[in-house]
């Protein structure tokens, strides 16, 4: 009887199609985000996150239409990240049926963007998405993580923990934290980073990047102090289903929605 820790499948969407593939038994079209979102909803996912990696304006309109179709069928929270650069981008996604938007590089270019967005739409729908990498330790030996852009290629010199604090002060209602060291490795979340940020901010933190098995999810919650765990490939390729993940977490004493 308490707030459940959330399990969030993440879909990478390009021009309205899921990329990186999803391999569910019984799905006719592995690239159809509407069908995949419905499947995750039926499995009991607590939210669904879309990362829109579409490069072109025309393709982006297709993604908006996709969000509309999903919102008409799936009645759990939807977060859309990727390409949110202006207030009108947020309005477009919310009008399409998204509940939250993830803001990433636009905040780095202009930190007040998060403040303006939260003032206009409310903190509850503004997620600050942070891509961080471990860098050389501080002079006093404490670990240091920096914000990276361009898929982890470009350092910004910004301290990730300080950035999270600042963005939450600017009005972000949640932090989506991706370890670029872990992303795609299946070696587990960066627990020290997750814990440092979760302890530093009052709002919920979603751990992302590197999950390869269910123990990683448990560790993300218990050691990383994350409020939610996000995963892509382990669900897409049916290595684990959402109910399996939840049952495993429950068996380890974590409150989940079953």
């Amino acid at each position: 009887m308490a707030l459940a820790k959330r399990i969030i499948p993440c879909l990478d969407v390009d021009k309205g199609r899921v990329v990186k593939g999803v391999n569910f038994v019984g799905i006719r079209d592995a690239g159809d985000p509407v069908e995949i979102a419905k499947r995750y909803n039926e499995q009991g996912a607590d939210e669904i996150t879309f990362l829109d990696i579409t490069a072109t304006h025309e393709g982006r309109e297709t993604t908006v239409h996709t969000v509309e179709q999903i919102a008409a069928e799936v009645f759990i929270p939807l977060t859309v990240g990727g390409g949110i650069r202006e207030i009108k981008d947020i309005r477009t996604m919310l009008n399409a049926g998204a509940d939250k938007v993830g803001i990433n590089s636009a905040a780095i270019h202009r930190p007040d963007f998060v403040k303006e967005a939260a003032d206009r739409f409310g903190s509850q729908c503004i997620v600050i998405a942070i891509d961080a990498k471990r860098v050389a330790d501080e002079a006093d030996g404490r670990p240091r993580w920096e914000i990276f852009t361009h898929g982890g290629r470009k350092p910004t010199g910004i301290n990730a923990v300080e950035w999270a604090i600042k963005m939450v002060e600017n009005g972000a209602g949640e932090v989506l934290l991706t370890s670029m060291d872990g992303d795609g490795t299946k070696a587990g979340y960066d627990l020290a980073l997750t814990r440092a940020i979760s302890e530093a901010v009052p709002v919920p933190v979603i751990a992302s990047g590197g999950v390869g098995n269910l123990d990683h999810m448990v560790a993300g919650i218990k050691e990383g102090l994350a409020d939610a765990v996000l995963a892509a490939s382990i669900f897409h390729f049916a290595e684990y289903t959402v109910p399996e993940a939840k049952a495993y977490m429950a068996a380890h004493g974590i409150e989940v929605r079953l």
Binding site: R6, A72, F75, A96, F121, S123, E174, P204
Partner: protein
Amino acid sequence: MSKSSVAVIDYGMGNLHSVASALEKVGDGVKVMVTDCPDTILSADRVIFPGVGAIRDCMAELKSRGLDEVIQEVAAQKPLLGICLGMQALLESSEENGGVECLDVLPGAVKFFGSDLRDAAGGRLKVPHMGWNNVIQAIDHPLWAGIPDASRFYFVHSYYVDAPEFVAGSCDYGVQVHAALACDNVFAVQFHPEKSGDMGLRLLSNFLNWDRPAAFFPVTD
């Protein structure tokens, strides 16, 4: 003809797409009208008052459209469902934004969770209260029909309702959160039924099929 039309009040506070599409999903042909027009709202068979954002903006937007009095009139007449900020606006006052007088349709106040919220074991609780929490039903009510006690619903809020009476459901988040209130033809929920999966859809379906007690029909001359 218990579910011919439902008005969703649109006063510029947040995204009503989800509420409208959830109603269309469960409505079995119900006419869903997303509107800020007082006449349309007053002519609907039932009314949903949603909302996200800050209470000061909410009250200002309502007043600028003349909807504060419309909602008070609806509350005296026909089935009304307040959701999230819409629930909070139905109470007497809110601590948010330095203190704001609300619509005073239901007794009670809206309070801040505080910056050092703890669970019973002393663990730190994040604010906003975001995610799926168990709602303990305090009363039998037509809107809980088919919904098991302690079902989880999706919450997102930093301020919570503390009501002296009419509590229909509550949840625990460091404090006792009055997650649902019921008084005559008014029902109000802190959580988002339109984002709470099957149980949320069931609650909305129950609302569309809820006929208020006959005793509350106005006496006509």
